[in-house]
């Protein structure tokens, strides 16, 4: 009986801090700006098929490398495709790659972190050493190597980014578990005979949620840059499918003749990444119980 009342306490507390966090987030102007920026790009990516824009793959030999005009708001590329519609379709590749790779990193990283932190001992040693080893390999170099050996494609780029981001979440979750596992309510739950699985699910996981959410938002920003970098190097989205990274890759060959080809994709990557960074920073401030 006492376990039930005790159990109710942290949950009620979590709800209170949840609504307080929401209020703080709304009051945080930069987080709001970040949210609006992210929402804008998500909307553009979702609406790409219904927007009244040119076919992003339609080439036109009479309109090669034309500067921005009313007919082509962002100009045309080296084979006469409309840069504006390629930008809009390119948002899909960036956002999908950013979100899916981070979902993958969280889905793999959090369970491993929970196991390592909760059970400790040799299993923790093994998981932690593997995490160290993965973190020792520079993010981008690891992703390049994985993409190289798996073969260049957007899917493989996402797998590579997800795998390289995974250790961040293992380490974060593990640390979080270590700090709550000795709390009285966890000890209490163990004393009344709850299984490890139930304890992890009901008492540990909710404490991991907030920092993982913050980190995931910030990691999406990194993942989007990484996808663009891999596509820029030719290891991500393959032509003719549009992606901001591969557009930049082509654009760098036409800097003197068609500089606008390089302006837009980079500016878009910058803005969407800035949006996720602002949102992530805002979430951190809102969810951090130490800050009042």
């Amino acid at each position: 009986m006492s376990a039930i009342t005790e159990a109710a306490l942290p949950v009620a507390g979590a709800q209170r801090s949840g609504s307080r966090a929401w209020k703080k987030l709304k009051a945080n102007r930069s987080a709001l700006v970040g949210f609006v920026m992210v929402a804008f790009f998500v909307a553009v990516a979702l609406l790409a098929p219904v927007l009244p824009i040119d076919d992003p793959a339609a080439t036109s030999w009479s309109a090669v490398r034309k500067a921005p005009s009313l007919a082509h708001l962002m100009g045309t590329d080296e084979i006469g495709r409309d840069v504006f519609s390629r930008m809009i379709w390119g948002a899909r590749a960036s956002l999908i790659a950013g979100v899916i790779s981070v979902v993958m990193a969280v889905a793999l990283g959090v369970p491993f972190g929970l196991i390592a932190g909760y059970f400790g001992g040799w299993i923790d040693q093994v998981i932690s050493r593997v995490t160290d080893a993965m973190l020792a390999m520079p993010f981008l170099i690891l992703a390049i190597a994985l993409a190289a050996f798996l073969g260049p494609s957007l899917t493989n780029a996402m797998i590579a980014i997800g795998l390289s981001a995974m250790p961040i979440f293992i380490r974060l979750t593990r640390g979080q578990v270590l700090s709550v596992k000795t709390e009285d309510y966890v000890e209490g739950a163990r004393a009344v005979g709850l299984t490890d699985f139930a304890i992890i699910l009901r008492y540990i996981l909710p404490n991991v949620f907030a920092p993982v959410l913050v980190q995931a938002t910030l990691t999406i920003a990194t993942a989007i840059i990484l996808e663009a970098a891999l596509s820029f190097l030719g290891l991500g989205q393959q032509p003719p499918a549009p992606s901001w990274g591969s557009m930049l890759n082509v654009a760098k060959n036409f800097l003197t003749q068609a500089p606008w080809m390089a302006w837009w994709p980079g500016a878009a990557i910058f803005l969407v990444v800035l949006g996720f960074n602002l949102l992530g920073d805002g979430l951190r401030d809102a969810l951090d119980p130490r800050e009042t």
Partner: protein, 315 residues
């Protein structure tokens, strides 16, 4: 002291072994017969036989790994299938270029990031703090390969001030070397400057509240001396240690920067190797990069331990 270093080494060694297993396993990701793929597209029977022999491909996988590690420990990272040069030699040849780029980028990052962080902490909550934070966040969000392209467009194409590509060793022509490297170093240093600014700011905010800073102020020490001598000195240590953790990021960033400015370094080596399917080179580069990161972290940890009186006291 010694026991700490030994304990720290005891962690570094298994990490390195795991990295080597991982790097070795990469070649098993290749679909089909690795000998066929690694020997290249010409399907030269001699090359295929060479790869099969070299990697002991007819043996079981753990035995293959053993042979591979044995070679690595003797400095044999394999041979480039494109140029037939030993991989270690290739890396040793390219590494100084990347190190020069990295050092210049670090200097730029420190010169911009640390003063900006101090200023922003001292002027907390003012327009200066706000502006510095926005600039730092932008520095973290801008893809450095785009920044590089835009700088080439502005500085090289439109203004014609600096060359867009090329490399000269500083030992041959220091001025020309500086001319070709300053823009890439700035590009590589941007995100580091942003990270350093944020770390310096939070470290400074932490120490500015400390008792000894209040005491110094109460004694009537001039504000500038309080900030630089009493606060900054104590804030610097975690900042320097953190910058060691940025070493990996620096190597990763160098890959893109070298690609844009066609600088013949370590990063260009791995990208070129990826496209020529020179897998031994790819493996060699990751292994060296990871070993470098582990070593730098180890040195940073030991140094932190040595210079931090509180940690020395625990002995």
């Amino acid at each position: 002291m010694l026991s700490y270093i030994i304990r720290r080494l005891a962690i570094a060694v298994p990490t390195l072994i795991l990295v080597s297993i991982f790097v070795f396993t990469l070649q098993k990701l290749l679909p089909g017969d690795p000998a066929l793929i690694m020997a290249g597209e010409d399907r030269d029977p001699a090359a295929i036989e060479f790869v099969r022999e070299k990697y002991h491909l007819s043996e079981p996988i753990p035995v293959q790994y053993f042979y591979w590690v044995k070679g690595v420990l003797q400095g044999d990272l394999g041979v480039s299938l494109r140029t037939s040069q030993p991989v270690l030699g290739l890396i040793a040849h390219k590494l100084p270029v990347t190190i020069q780029l990295a050092i210049m980028a670090l200097v730029i990052a420190f010169v911009i990031g640390v003063p900006a962080g101090i200023l922003s902490a001292v002027k907390k909550g003012t327009v200066i703090d706000y502006a510095a934070n926005i600039v730092a966040l932008s520095g973290l969000s801008v893809p450095n390969f785009w920044l590089g392209i835009m700088l080439i467009l502005l500085v090289s194409v439109n203004l014609g001030w600096l060359p867009a590509s090329g490399y000269e060793s500083p030992f041959v022509d220091p001025l020309r070397s500086l001319e070709t490297m300053i823009m890439p170093a700035f590009v590589l240093g941007t995100s580091l400057a942003a990270t350093l600014m944020r770390h310096t700011r939070s470290a400074m905010l932490g120490v500015m509240k400390a008792d000894y800073v209040r005491t110094a102020r109460a004694k009537g020490v001039r504000e500038l001396a309080v900030i630089l001598k009493h606060a900054f000195r104590n804030a610097l240590l975690p900042v320097v240690t953190l910058s060691a953790l940025l070493f990996g990021e620096l190597l990763g960033g160098a890959v893109l920067t070298e690609q844009i400015f066609t600088i013949p370094g370590f990063g260009k080596l791995i990208v070129d190797a990826v496209f020529t399917r020179d897998y031994a080179v790819v493996q060699g580069v990751i292994l060296c990069a990871a070993a470098g990161v582990i070593l730098v972290n180890l040195v940073a940890d030991v140094l932190y331990f040595l210079v931090n009186p509180r940690m020395r006291a625990t002995l």
